[in-house]
Symmetry: C2
Subunit: 386 residues, 2 copies
């Protein structure tokens, strides 16, 4: 087990009717900016519940944060935060809205001239404007971590940021929101959380027996609830386990003391930036070829995963490891997610070279748990995913 | 899954040489009181490492906090805290020292006349004097939770306290400390952590699939490392997994969203108060008879535990459940821990009635996950454990 530091101060309010508690969780004297996405919260009743809970507070609103939160739009929200001297933000949405609010949390207190530098120059945030979240879409885990990914359409860039100042003060996780999520987003959420766990687990054995088992627990739970959720998102128990699994998949716990990969995400981000493919689907596109390309260095963990998560009992270590890859692809496909790039775009020829070029441009020249995957390796992996 | 709130702000510093970080984790201008137990830290080198790390700080010391931290001794430390205007405490020890420091954290800011009231009147602590810990004995999980148990020899009482103000600011978990722990304490730590998980898991199915699997992960890890630890406590990987498992067993996470029992602890506490039997061993004494007495209401979870944790594949649900109980007893015994009260004291006749009387006196009239176990039930359970 590697040395680690772990701290996660976010307060989770989990379950039915927890939205009511916003009235006491947000300081009474706060000037609140409530931020949300495309307006689905006005159709599914969440907007009404939130505004009712906040009736005793001074609240301004900013809607329209898109999937893959866009820098130019966020800059408009930043102007409101500064002009109106906002003291607390409430993100009501999925990972995109929450990630956007994290950028704003950092940018609101940033003293440099150009907030884009927070992303471009990878400036860590140690103190941000406080914010809470009401999660409407289980997937990214952003509701209980301090990371964020922001997109800039102008330059087709998608960059990460973070720091200990960016944990939500609290997050409301009400599984009844799952009922109104469209099928495509449910599949994305399941695939996203599943891949988050894989990125922190599918590396090499590092003597972290407990962390391995915790990761496997989340994978097993997601596999068990996936068909239930896809069939009936109003199944409260399935929705609750789905929601808590997504949060636990990326709240920092399972990555502590172990090597982590994240190469699938780095390649996937470029596919979203280039073609607008849903984030979770880019992960499903890359995973199989990434594990196949790096088979030798990952086969021990792939075999362990096949044995413990998929109950593969027969065959050699290599055969089990291959079965683990095949089961992963089959899992994505069971959610209705296509796993080849050519199934998403006709423009795929040349993509691998372009991804490699962009990774190089962003300084991502040593990906993976060993830090050894060069852009030329990424090129081969993406090509295998055509 | 039940509704829940979860927040745990304790920062964990895990691994070799993390003690050095005390120099920066404790505020520079703090006036520190370092508290420890019987002095074993002066033999195993931990005292030296800690004092070296704190060489830039103003530090006073208070040693001699005993196992089952004693109220009268803690009151002497409280006088020092007040006389010397201590602003930060550092607990260096196991659960007893840390629990003692939690009481002091509360008592230092308590405005009533009689600090014992914090325990006797179950007063929750919302703000305490800040403290950190250096864990020297993995077992209780006190290093990452906000609970404490204090003993008063004078009245043979052992009472619990807690509140959100009592989380350690940080805890240093260095697995190399395991090397110098005596065999008896290692066995106690393994049994204690194992039973902590059982108390939060062995109830009835509540639809919390993820929490069940997380609990099973900790149990499986403890079972796997137990023989390694007992054979060679200098095995770093085994020690690291043992240590992190003990913390994860009682940092609040696995009990969220599920019913919890804790009746074994309530009965066990009385056995420690009466006979001075090690805490962990009282749990091993009570567990089998508790699960046997409550077999009907716990058999589904007992069978799931037998299947998933002990890989019991044959037999009916009842047979598997019984195998789960037998495996639990065998696990305690594999650590060299005796599981019958008569193996610890000749005074056992009459104990059951006395335990029942004391539980009634302390208002513990509805134990267990259903809140239905009366002192008369406890009497029968303890009698079965003779």
């Amino acid at each position: 087990m590697k040395n680690f530091e772990f701290a996660n101060p976010t307060k989770i309010l989990f379950g039915k009717d927890q939205i009511q508690k916003l009235s006491t969780e947000i300081p009474q004297d706060a000037k609140v900016l409530m931020l949300y996405g495309g307006g689905s919260i006005k159709k599914n009743g969440i907007y009404e519940k939130v505004t009712k809970a906040l009736s005793g507070h001074e609240v301004l609103e900013f809607g329209g944060i898109p999937a893959n939160p866009e820098y130019d739009i966020l800059m408009k929200a930043l102007k409101i935060i500064k002009d109106e001297q906002i003291t607390f933000m409430l993100a009501v949405g999925g990972g995109s809205v929450i990630d956007g609010v994290k950028f704003l949390s950092s940018a609101a207190l940033y003293e440099g001239d150009e907030p884009w530098d927070i992303l471009a120059k990878r400036i860590r945030t140690f103190k941000g404007l406080p914010f809470g979240t009401v999660l409407t879409l289980p997937a990214t885990g952003s509701e209980m971590n301090s990371g964020s990914v922001i997109t800039r359409a102008e330059t087709k860039e998608k960059l990460a940021m973070g720091g200990p100042g960016l944990f939500p003060v609290f997050s409301v996780l009400d599984p009844t929101v799952v009922t109104s999520i469209p099928e495509r987003q449910l599949a994305n959420g399941l695939a996203d959380a599943f891949t988050h766990v894989l990125e922190q687990y599918m590396t090499y054995p590092a003597g972290a027996m407990l962390q391995d088992r915790l990761a496997e627990s989340i994978l097993q739970t997601l596999i068990e609830v996936a068909p239930q959720i896809m069939k009936n998102p109003a199944d409260y128990q399935a929705a609750a386990n789905f929601m808590w699994s997504c949060t636990m998949a990326l709240n920092g716990l399972i990555q502590k003391g172990v090597p982590t990969d994240w190469a699938i995400h780095m390649m996937g981000h470029e596919l979203t930036a280039l073609y607008g493919i849903d984030h979770a689907r880019t992960l499903a596109i890359i995973a199989e070829s990434h594990y196949t390309y790096n088979f030798e260095s990952k086969k021990e963990k792939l075999a362990q995963y096949a044995e413990r998560v998929w109950r593969v009992t027969d065959g050699s270590l290599e055969e089990k490891a291959k079965a683990g890859i095949a089961q992963t692809t089959a899992f994505y496909q069971s959610l209705g997610i296509k796993t080849k790039l050519s199934e998403y775009t006709d423009q795929y020829p040349g993509t691998a070279a372009e991804v490699a070029r962009r990774l190089k441009e962003h300084g991502m020249t040593g990906l993976g748990e060993h830090g050894t995957l060069a852009p030329t390796d990424a090129e081969k992996i993406v090509e295998m995913a055509y």
